[in-house]
């Protein structure tokens, strides 16, 4: 495993938007929790990501916005390798993911299943369609990763799972099957399932897009609390209100590239780029 070069002179993450309540000690630590370098990804002939560089500091909430098909979900999925990037590197807490092998055509990065699994347990992900395990009760859903991946003892896993379910307001529903819950409740279970693994960073892939409008609020509230609590988060969303309220930094992706980024105020209220303005005009809610 290659370690990232500690001497590289990336700017420290100090120029982020200041934010009031958050900011655990981890923030003082200069090394980014997550760093992407030149991520490229193509599907078939079309290039979806054209070289993305991104650093996310500990405790930071980064919100990614952009039109459908701009590549924002693909970018998120490249972070935990649900999609393998064609080129570029992902660093988690300074450690590069993948093993470099020398071939006749030069050096190449290969991703072994074991290595990816080891990395993924530190990266939580919440999906648009929840993806709860339908054959397990709510508490079993949250325990599953703890038992079969982290190898916790069952009672220990259960205690931890219940604590996380309580935190998302679902202490009453622990013995239900997911099919008995509303979409908003299911998504909160999915958040608890990811959080119980105690990840270094949480990824949210349009976590509220599949929800009925009246259920969006409860999920955003949980995400908001999480952000305020100092969790490092990368959030793909269409909820501009959430972006404005919770983000430390907003990134506008256009045609597979970071087109503009800055504080929520800068990007959502005073965008400089025409594309960003056009995208925001197309949305009627902010």
């Amino acid at each position: 495993m290659t370690l990232s070069d500690p001497t590289n002179d990336q700017p420290p993450a100090a120029d982020r938007a200041p934010r009031g309540a958050s900011g655990p000690a981890a923030r003082a630590n200069g090394a980014p929790v997550l760093k992407l370098e030149g991520i490229h990804k193509s599907f078939g002939g079309s290039e979806v990501l054209k070289g993305i560089d991104l650093e996310v500091a500990a405790g930071e909430t980064v919100v990614i916005i952009g039109a459908s098909g701009s590549g924002k979900s693909t970018l998120l999925r490249c972070i935990n390798f649900l999609e393998l990037p064609d080129a570029g590197r992902v660093y988690l807490k300074g450690e590069s993911v993948g093993t470099t092998v020398s071939t006749r055509r030069g050096e190449r990065l290969v991703f072994k299943e074991q290595e990816l699994n080891a990395m993924r347990r530190h990266v939580g992900m919440v999906f648009q369609s929840f993806n709860l395990f339908p054959h397990m009760t709510v508490v079993q859903n949250v325990m599953e990763g703890l038992v079969s991946v982290l190898r916790l003892k069952r009672d220990e896993a259960r205690t931890r799972a219940l604590r996380h379910l309580e935190a998302v307001g679902l202490a009453e529903k622990t013995e239900q099957y997911p099919s008995r819950l509303s979409g908003g409740q299911q998504q909160r279970v999915a958040i608890a399932r990811a959080l119980a693994m105690e990840p270094d960073v949480m990824l949210f892939d349009e976590a509220t897009s599949a929800l009925d409008p009246e259920l969006v609020g409860e999920v955003l509230q949980v995400m908001r609390d999480l952000s305020l609590g100092g969790m490092t988060m990368v959030v793909v969303t269409h909820e501009m209100g959430f972006a404005y309220a919770a983000a430390d930094r907003v990134i506008f992706i256009h045609q597979g590239q970071i087109h503009e980024q800055g504080t929520p105020e800068e990007i959502l209220k005073h965008p400089k780029q025409e594309r960003t303005k056009a995208f925001l005009r197309g949305l009627d809610h902010i």
């Binding site: 935990n80 649900l82 299943e113 074991q114 990816l116 699994n117 080891a118 990395m119 993924r120 347990r121 530190h122 990266v123 939580g124 992900m125 999906f127 369609s129 929840f130 993806n131 709860l132 395990f133 339908p134 054959h135 397990m136 009760t137 599953e144 990763g145 079969s148 991946v149 099957y177 099919s179 999915a190 399932r193 990811a194 693994m197």
Partner: protein
């Protein structure tokens, strides 16, 4: 029709029917276990993206799905021992033929079941850091098998019926015993009716049991 039905003449032969039924159960049980296990393995091999594993399993499945079971049975009893230069009991030949046939058919059922599980389930497991094996064992197979219970039940019933074919190579199962009883009593109607009714009862009972199981498993839906 002046035929006088008389089932009482079969009374002394009830233990014989019993022995036949036992062999039928043994044959069906062993073949079900071996066949489904091998079928699951074949399905996993065929679903893997490793070409040297995909090809042989695909060929195997096609051969055993497309040759008549009776031909397979006869082939394993008369031809296979010559090929390997060893003798083989009729029961062993029947186990081989019926298990491999069941494996081939159930492999396609398992593969279909595995593929029917939504992609999001795989991604959720991967995102937690599960290995492929854990993912398969904990997330995919429990859901897939639940969906496969109706077709697998059909397969099991089909297999139980197929065991009757083993009578042609003198495996002493139910139908074979029925034929023996007919040969000594000269009562074909009674002998074969009893055989048919026994098959009917055990398969019907099996179906009811599985339906109950299915309802219980369906609680999470």
């Amino acid at each position: 029709m002046g035929y006088q039905f008389d089932f009482t003449v079969l009374q002394p032969y009830l233990p014989t029917f019993g022995r036949g039924l036992l062999v039928t159960f043994q044959l069906a049980g062993v073949c079900l276990l071996l066949g489904f296990t091998a079928g699951l393995l074949l399905a996993l091999l065929r679903s893997s993206r490793i070409a040297p594993l995909v090809w042989p399993s695909a060929v195997f499945i096609e051969i055993f799905r497309n040759a008549p079971v009776l031909v397979q049975l006869v082939w394993f009893y008369y031809a296979f021992p010559v090929l390997i230069g060893a003798t083989m009991s009729a029961f062993a030949a029947a186990v081989l033929a019926l298990s491999l046939n069941t494996a081939a058919f159930s492999a396609e059922l398992f593969r279909g079941g595995i593929q029917s599980i939504h992609r999001g389930q795989w991604e959720a497991g991967r995102a937690l850091g599960m290995s492929n094996l854990t993912l398969m064992r904990r997330i995919i197979l429990p859901q897939a098998i639940k969906r496969m219970i109706p077709p697998l039940t059909n397969r099991a019933i089909e297999l139980t019926k197929m065991t009757a074919l083993a009578s042609t190579i003198a495996v002493p199962e139910l139908l074979y015993q029925g034929r023996l009883i007919n040969a000594v009593t000269f009562r074909p109607i009674e002998s074969y009716t009893v055989v048919a009714v026994i098959y009917l009862i055990i398969l019907w009972a099996g179906t009811i049991l599985v339906n109950r199981l299915e309802r219980r498993l369906g609680e999470s839906d």
